[in-house]
């Protein structure tokens, strides 16, 4: 597919999309942990619409060629931290389930780590 947006414009769209997507996910996460912290003051659905529109535009934009690096110990540490963070968040949100909460959150944490390692070690560009 031939990109519609090229050069600096494509770079800006890509940057804007990535930044707002991360912002949206972060706000969603915060609101899930501290209910109302975000939704009380901001309707993040509006942000979601902007992210979707930018995502569509980003598809039609030119992307720089990605370089594939070999995974090092920092990447594995990051994955481990993500798994622990996922475990803590899921435990917090399912704490009312009692013992089942531990099972769900531990399995979810392990899944995050294993899937991340699978993606990290995938050699396809």
């Amino acid at each position: 597919m031939k990109p519609i947006f090229k050069g600096n414009l494509a770079s800006i769209i890509n940057h804007l999309f990535q930044t707002l997507l991360v912002t949206y996910l972060l706000l969603l996460l915060i609101d899930q942990i501290w209910s109302g912290f975000v939704s009380l003051y901001l309707n993040i659905n509006y942000l979601l619409i902007i992210v979707i529109v930018l995502g569509v535009l980003d598809i039609f934009s030119e992307h720089p060629q990605l370089n594939i690096k070999k995974a090092n110990w920092k990447d594995y540490l990051f994955i481990l931290l993500l798994g622990i963070a996922g475990f803590i968040i899921i435990k917090f949100k399912t704490s009312s389930l009692g013992a089942l909460s531990w099972v769900i959150s531990i399995i979810a944490g392990i899944l995050i780590i294993l899937l991340s390692i699978l993606i990290l070690e995938d050699e396809k560009p």
Binding site: N8, S11, I12, L16, T19, L20, V22, G36
Partner: protein, 524 residues
């Protein structure tokens, strides 16, 4: 200069060509291949967006006072907000206003409450369809059980009094006190004065005001003898210091059969009996009236070591007895509600002395005079300078008395007269005292009762606003501390007592909307 080109996907030929570049040539290529300044600037702006959002959220949560408004359009077709649904009618449209009728006494709704919120301001638009004895109460759930902290948001009684009498208001964060002065003869007190119970007023209130013990300063007991003959059971209030001693003399009329005993009872004000003494019958238990008899029976009740204060004295008998003398060692004595003056030849030939009664009234009253025998008819009663003719027996004769701080005097020449209408009477001017001139009166939803019994009304109440066509807007402010909030929701109750009463249950209350503002103060 050796430059490392790690992570750059270039073939070896290109790499060797790049290595041959001078520092100046390399700088030019680097500048040309990197992003222009405006792109960098835009990217920095983009990075600032999430930082700004996070800063706004943190500021809003911790550094700014916040208000959250919730508007419940009760007349809305889709949602009524009030539960249970079977206690609320379907939407009704009248004169362009959509509303629903509340058809049962208890209905509920929820309000979202954010953590850290301090108070909530609630306005309700409703149509005034309430009888005077009812009221509109808003409750906020304050425990895990079905218990609500109640606030009266509309009272027809209070609104009626506000429209008629002068009032003062003190609105604070915790409550909105309103003081209505019903008795213009009383001093002009402030709300703070009333809260400290000044001691010479009767207050109807829903506030927790502790009543002061009535005392007469520098009271010195002395002997009081009442020779006014009275008939039947009478209740007195007597101010006692130290030992109390009363001697009562009676004569039996013997108009009816059975024993004619008289019991002297002394009570605390809470009606618990302290001591009692019975004066026996004269020995004649048959119905044999004899007007010539002068023989009396007497008895003395002596109670030592009483705490100084007001007590109730009861002289209980079967109406076949004339009390001819009361002699007590205390000098403040009043009779409650009614006096049957019996110094009349209707009962005994030697009872011919005129009688005098004294009273004060700080409210308008109607005195009632009744005689039961023709011999006592055709007499003129003097009330101060006014004269009232008693023409017939068994007919009530009324005399209006205006409120005044002055002592009134009633004089009857022929007696055999039942006097009622005033709360208290005394037999001498000096023995008069007003033990209940300062008292906490029961706050009833009855404006006439309050006008007759209270000097001031002090309530936690905010007058409603008139919205036209019978619609009213009531406002109230509720502190959230101590309330039971679960899942960030506060359960509220609308209580309309008259809808639980068979006689008034068809007086439904139309509700147009409920508007709520939750106030959340800054944490820092």
């Amino acid at each position: 200069m050796e430059t490392k080109f790690t992570n750059i996907n270039v073939d070896k030929k290109t790499e060797s060509e790049i290595r041959k570049l001078t520092k100046g040539e390399f700088g030019k290529i680097k500048n040309h291949s990197s992003e222009p300044a405006y792109v960098k600037f835009i990217k920095i702006i983009i990075i600032i967006i999430p930082i700004a959002i996070l800063c706004y959220l943190v500021t809003a949560h911790f550094f700014l006072n916040q208000q959250f408004n919730y508007f419940y359009n009760i007349g809305n077709e889709k949602e009524s907000f009030l539960t249970p649904v079977d206690r609320v009618s379907q939407p009704i449209s009248d004169s362009g206003i959509n509303f629903r009728n509340i058809t049962s006494s208890l209905t509920y709704f929820n309000v979202p409450i954010e953590d850290g919120s301090k108070n909530i301001s609630i306005s309700i638009k409703f149509k005034d369809n309430l009888p005077e004895s009812s009221k509109l109460i808003l409750g906020a759930k304050d425990s895990v059980d079905w218990h609500y902290q109640s606030t009266v948001i509309y009272s027809p009684t209070i609104e009626k009094l506000i429209a008629k009498y002068p009032y003062k208001q003190n609105i604070s964060q915790n409550n909105s006190l309103i003081l209505i002065k019903l008795n213009t003869n009383k001093p002009d007190y402030s709300i703070n004065d009333i809260l400290s119970f000044p001691g010479n007023v009767r207050i109807a209130t829903d506030q927790n005001i502790s009543e002061k013990q009535f005392t007469i300063s520098n009271y010195q007991p002395s002997q009081l003898t009442i020779d006014t003959a009275i008939r039947g059971t009478h209740n007195f209030y007597v101010y006692i210091k130290d030992t109390f001693e009363v001697t009562v003399e009676k004569r039996d009329m013997n108009w009816y059969e059975n024993e004619d005993n008289l019991t002297i009872n002394l009570y605390y004000l809470n009606n618990s009996l302290i001591s009692s003494r019975t004066i026996k019958d004269d020995g004649e238990t048959d119905a044999k009236p004899n007007k010539t008899i002068t023989k009396t029976q007497s008895g003395t009740l002596n109670v030592p070591g009483l705490k100084e204060g007001v007590y109730r004295l009861e002289l209980k008998n079967n109406d076949d007895v004339i009390i001819t003398r009361i002699s007590i060692n205390q000098n403040k004595l009043i009779v409650k509600d009614k006096v049957f003056l019996a110094s009349s030849t209707v009962y005994f030939n030697d009872l011919t002395d005129p009688s005098k009664l004294y009273f004060k009234s700080n409210k308008p009253i109607t005195l009632k005079f009744t005689t039961y025998h023709d011999a006592a008819a055709n007499q003129t009663i003097k009330i101060d300078d006014q004269r009232l003719k008693i023409i017939k027996a068994k007919v009530d004769y009324n005399q209006s008395i205006q409120q005044s701080s002055l002592m009134h005097q009633i004089t009857s020449e022929k007696n055999d007269l039942l006097v009622s209408g005033s709360d208290f009477y005394s037999f001498t001017e000096d023995s008069w005292f007003e033990p209940f001139n300062s008292a906490k009166i029961l706050l009833k939803d009855d404006s006439i009762y309050l006008e007759n019994n209270a000097d001031y009304v002090l309530v936690n109440y905010l007058p409603v606003q008139d919205a036209g066509d019978g619609w009213k807007i009531s406002n109230t402010n509720i502190q959230l501390s101590g309330l039971y909030i679960t899942d960030k929701k506060l359960n509220m109750l609308i209580n309309i007592p008259h809808l639980a009463n068979n006689a008034t249950k068809s007086k439904y209350i139309p509700i147009d909307w409920i508007n709520m503002t939750v106030f959340k103060p800054a944490k820092f």
